[in-house]
Symmetry: C2
Subunit: 300 residues, 2 copies
């Protein structure tokens, strides 16, 4: 392992610790009324996960010289949005999945009604995190810009729209362009928002924001290609959710559309394109470079 | 009808027209991709309703001399939160209701998955409305305060929490205090937020905000008492949702706990207390006074 590798691992562990501690702080304790709802919210959010979106927030923040405290809030907000989306996606009416992060999905543990409500409350909390006392950390106009950006990325023209497109495409023969359109909405929008929220925690100029936006688009797609590859090649134990679930639902995937080895090559090229977007940035962007590589090399 | 009556009716019609036109503007057209999701979002939101929360926003705004344009956004945001909550509350896993505002509930018309997603996207849109271009209308710190307030009122310690308490109390024998606790969360929090958001559209002083907050607490409870009364006395046609639904679900209600005539007296007293909170305000608060009376006199 090189010194850089060690630094990057330390960066990732540090960031993960920070966001998990902040998630724990902003989620009401399971003893607070209504207790069962708060317990379900904590169950959905604090049960592990790779925390890739928070890592992107901190990495983009580091690339732009942002302070850690506003980054904590931005990272927490995007992870809350991600956690709520998983709780809702797993519901019987949606993907009907029993396993998530190696444990029972929220509706399996708390029942469908509580899982719907927990998701709703987690999403709502994300916006509270970006508004409550945030003005002490960064300027109010940047707070508002972050809320605007996150609400767009999470909404009907972003993540939720992607889930709707996904549902409509089950069992359909999609073209590559349609598949990409789905993923740009479903996972790409929130990944892009994570990078931009991190950058907005500092006074980042327009050009850098634009480069980072392009970087995020490439890694967003790479992330999904790798997810599809893992659904084919990974075991349930390894990926922490039901392996082969996409196939068994007859969902369109990259390996199904272009074959496994082409899908791998596609992921590699997306990673290269992502790196090309960072050429104007120095060492401070190394965590972003490393995360792009991690996304296409991960096995879970 | 007195001149005041005519003015108040004109106020209500004017406010309703404004919020409905703004809802239509902020909701993506049903032709925009993903079309079915946008269609479902519009179906949930534009299919009528009393628009009581928006009316409260405009009425509180008028009491504080706010401009109409920020009030449009605040009214739209609270109505979006209300509309999403109805779409989710009606789901089979929750209240399992088929009728809403005299037509099929969202999941009956679009299926469960799309109803969950439409709700999620409508909630997300509420926060976009309060952040996107809002800074052109009022100061950024007041925008943030509004988002903070709405996200608190709509979240696990407000509206969603109330729905969770409600679910847990089906079939249970509740005390009056527990019933009120449920309603303070379930409907009271958003009603209070509506009044305060209206007031925050102007530079309202702390004392007035406090009085308006108390006013809102009284009418919030009055609203729920009257809702329970209508569930007993109204017909399905009249109230636009299944009459007797609370009883048949064995839900605790005010008439069940204190008898119908005591429930009516309770509503009347809450209305009186609400009016008492407005004594320091002049004619400009007449719409608020009138709305309090309307809430306990309404038949739908």
């Amino acid at each position: 392992m090189t010194t850089t590798d060690i630094h990057l691992r330390q960066f990732a562990e540090h960031a993960k610790r920070r966001v998990e501690s902040m998630l724990d702080r902003v989620l009401p304790a399971a003893s607070i009324h209504p207790a069962r709802l708060h317990e379900a919210m904590r169950y959905c959010t604090l049960s592990g996960g790779k925390r890739i979106r928070p890592l992107l927030v901190y990495a983009a923040g580091q690339a732009c010289n942002a302070d850690d405290t506003p980054l904590d809030m931005a990272a927490t907000a995007v992870e809350l949005v991600h956690a709520y989306s998983l709780a809702h996606d797993d519901l019987p009416a949606m993907d009907d999945d029993d396993l998530r992060r190696g444990q029972a999905t929220c509706h399996k543990a708390y029942g469908e009604a509580e899982a719907i409500l927990a998701g709703d409350a987690i999403l709502t909390l994300a916006f509270r995190v970006l508004s409550h006392n945030m003005a002490e950390l960064i300027s109010t106009d940047r707070c508002l810009r972050m809320i605007d950006l996150l609400s767009h990325a999470a909404g009907s023209r972003g993540m939720v729209g992607g889930q709707s497109i996904d549902l409509a495409s089950v069992g359909k023969q999609l073209e590559i362009a349609e598949l990409e359109d789905m993923h740009i909405h479903k996972t790409g929008a929130l990944i892009k928002a994570s990078v931009l929220l991190g950058a907005l925690c500092a006074d980042t100029n327009k050009d850098t924001l634009e480069s980072l936006g392009h970087y995020a688009q490439f890694i967003g797609l790479a992330f999904q290609v790798q997810d599809d590859i893992l659904d084919v090649t990974g075991s349930t134990e390894q990926i922490g959710k039901t392996a082969g679930a996409d196939r068994s639902l007859n969902k369109p995937t990259y390996p199904a559309l272009m074959g496994l080895s082409n899908a791998r090559e596609h992921a590699r090229l997306l990673h290269e394109s992502a790196l090309n977007c960072l050429t104007s940035l120095g060492q401070e962007a190394d965590p972003l470079r490393w995360l792009s590589g991690y996304i296409v090399a991960r096995t879970a």
